[in-house]
């Protein structure tokens, strides 16, 4: 590579870093400024007197801990539920031949064509009839079945050798034990990936809670956030601090499971 080429490349990489790292960092820095400094013009790049005042205000005024707890309960339980039923369905589609297996596979995949956005009203009515409106149970159960989750598990479980399952059956091992003791341990990498993805999806989800939750005490963090944005007058210090706090769990998951998440995505993209 020529020298100008290398320099050009370095500049490009530097610009990319700036463009993608700066916005989240700017959010964090702004949230650490005082009420007066936040609207100061020209803006100070670095907080002159870093303060946690915005965070203290947010925690004392709104039931933020409650929203945080709701979000945590919803994402953890919904992710666990989703992974459990995806493993079950993926195993059935990968390792059994039964009447209607292709039909069920296509039925599940056809749900890909129906995002929540286009069935808002009927889903609202179903939730109402089932008594799930304004309950966390609704936000946990309703989004749990995902075609992509079933597909991911099916693709992974197909690669588990049949001989292992056959050997267990010859030993008259009950079917549920084969699932729990052989299939689940061998599928752990895929289960981990799917669990991580689901935690992120459910934590970040806005539309389901938006449709289901009406009372403030049941708000998730995303709902609290959306409700702090009005057409008129935005309480910026509050909004910025809520945003930072709602990103922190994702940052933790990302740092802890970064390889799993990014490689899982690449494997999925390569396999599709």
């Amino acid at each position: 590579m020529t020298k100008t080429n290398t320099i050009g490349r370095s500049i490009a990489v530097g610009a990319v870093l700036l463009l993608f790292a700066l916005p989240p960092i700017w959010l964090l820095l702004s949230s650490l400024k005082s009420q007066a400094e936040i609207f100061q013009w020209p803006p100070s790049l670095w907080p002159q007197q870093p303060t946690l005042q915005s965070y203290i205000d947010t925690f004392s005024r709104a039931n933020f801990l409650q929203y945080f707890q709701n979000s945590a309960v919803v994402s953890v339980l919904s992710a666990l539920l989703s992974v459990t039923i995806s493993v079950m369905a993926g195993y059935a589609l990968a390792k059994f031949r039964f009447k209607g297996d292709t039909f069920f596979f296509l039925l599940i995949m056809s749900a890909l064509m129906v995002p929540l956005q286009i069935v808002l009203i009927p889903v609202f009515l179903v939730l109402r009839d089932l008594g799930l409106l304004n309950t966390l149970a609704g936000v946990i159960i309703a989004p749990a079945a995902t075609p992509s989750g079933v597909f991911l598990m099916r693709q992974y479980i197909v690669s588990i050798p049949d001989s292992l399952l056959e050997a267990a059956r010859i030993d008259r091992t009950p079917e549920w034990r084969i699932l729990l003791r052989i299939v689940v341990p061998l599928a752990l990498p895929a289960i981990g990936t799917l669990l991580a993805f689901n935690l992120v999806w459910r934590w970040n989800d806005y539309l389901w809670p938006f449709l289901i939750i009406t009372e403030q005490q049941n708000w998730t963090v995303q709902l609290a956030l959306a409700n702090s944005v009005g057409r008129f007058g935005i309480d910026w210090p509050r909004l910025l601090s809520i945003s930072v706090m709602s990103v922190i769990p994702m940052l933790v998951i990302f740092i802890a499971l970064q390889k799993t998440l990014m490689n899982g995505l690449m494997a999925g993209a390569a396999k599709e």
Binding site: V13, L17, F20, A21, P24, W26, L27, F39, W41, P42, P43, T84, I85, A89, Y91, K95, F98, I108, A111, L112, M113, V114, P115, Q117, I118, V119, I121, F124, V126, L130, A142, A144, A145, V158, D162, L165, E166, E175, L179, W203, N204, D205, Y206, L225, A226, V229, R231, W236, L240, S243, S246, V247, M250, I253, M262, L265, M266, A267, A269, E272
Partner: protein, 310 residues
């Protein structure tokens, strides 16, 4: 797929054990299928049915004025004169046409720039990917703050070059541009990773052979990289189109649809028709049906492309 429930000998009657073994895969499928039926497939059918009626959201059997009235395809005809709907549909199509190619160009550029398999480039990729971990709602907040007229970093940087007070989110055209920019920023990392996966599967010796022949970098890109990357590019484009048609959450926190109705796209219009106006649930269902047909065609195309991949 494997045949697993092999019986040692054909058994006539049903024994509990055999029944259990036959029922087992169905039991495994039951939770997923039941949930998808209740929360996806049944609502879809009900939604399509609703699009043939004039009705509100809530129907009370005892109150006659709330009973749905069958109108056939009238709702769909009315959609043609419904300015809010046609405007939001054209805005959405315009958004798709501008944002998807731009996102492809940006993620392709990022993928080519950041593909080298070294620790440094892996780190840069991580930074670029991180926005994919943040909800679109928060991405909207971050950028609304950056775009702020008298408080935003962007206008501050521009003011250093003598450009003062650009009304990013207060001007109809600029607000739509802002939504495109932010949408591309939010999805670029995810799509970059799909393309990087495609790039790493291109054999290195092709480039080495081209280099020996003194082929320019640009010709290598157009004659080797692009053709071999085509399957990944199709995934990015089709997924991008489907996502772009559903653009909504980002708008909630970035512009709330404004200024005026400048950034009200289809989903927001459907929601407002259904929940903010009286007796318009049938119209909202008709709008949803239109979007469903669009998304169905796109999904079928996507599955076709996916199947063609090696």
């Amino acid at each position: 797929m494997a045949i697993s429930n092999r019986e040692p000998a054909p058994v006539a009657g049903w024994t509990p054990g055999r029944l259990g073994r036959v029922a087992w895969p169905y039991l495994l499928l039951l939770p997923t299928v039941a949930l998808l039926f209740v929360f996806t497939l049944y609502p879809l059918i009900q939604g399509l049915w609703m699009s043939l009626f004039t009705r509100g959201i809530v129907v009370v059997p005892q109150v006659e004025s709330t009973h749905p009235v069958f109108v056939g395809f009238d709702n769909f005809l009315h959609l043609l004169d419904d300015k809010n709907f046609t405007t939001s549909l054209f805005k959405t199509i315009g958004f798709v046409v501008v944002a998807v190619p731009l996102q492809l160009a940006v993620s392709l550029g990022l993928a080519v720039l950041l593909a080298p398999q070294t620790r440094f480039y892996a780190f840069v990729r991580t930074i670029v990917f991180f926005p994919s971990m943040i909800s679109m709602l928060i991405i909207g907040v971050i950028w609304a703050w950056l775009f702020g007229r008298n408080s935003g970093l962007i206008n501050y940087v521009l003011s250093l070059f003598g450009i003062e007070g650009v009304p990013w989110l207060e001007n109809e055209v600029l607000a739509q541009i802002a939504v495109v920019i932010v949408w591309v920023w939010g999805g670029a990392g995810f799509n970059m990773m799909i393309l990087v996966a495609g790039l790493t599967s291109i054999p290195k010796d092709l480039y080495e052979a081209a280099a020996i022949d003194n082929t320019s970098k640009w010709r290598q890109f157009t004659h080797i990289t692009l053709p071999l990357l085509q399957p990944s590019i199709m995934v990015v484009v089709v997924l991008g189109i489907i996502e772009a048609f559903k653009v909504y959450e980002l708008v909630v926190s970035l512009t709330t649809g404004g200024p005026g109705r400048a950034t009200v796209y289809l989903i927001q219009n459907i929601y407002e028709t259904a929940f903010r106006t009286v007796n318009q649930a049938g119209m909202a269902a008709a709008q949803s049906a239109v979007l469903f047909v669009i998304l169905m065609v796109l999904t079928i195309l996507q599955l076709r492309f996916a199947r063609k991949r090696p």
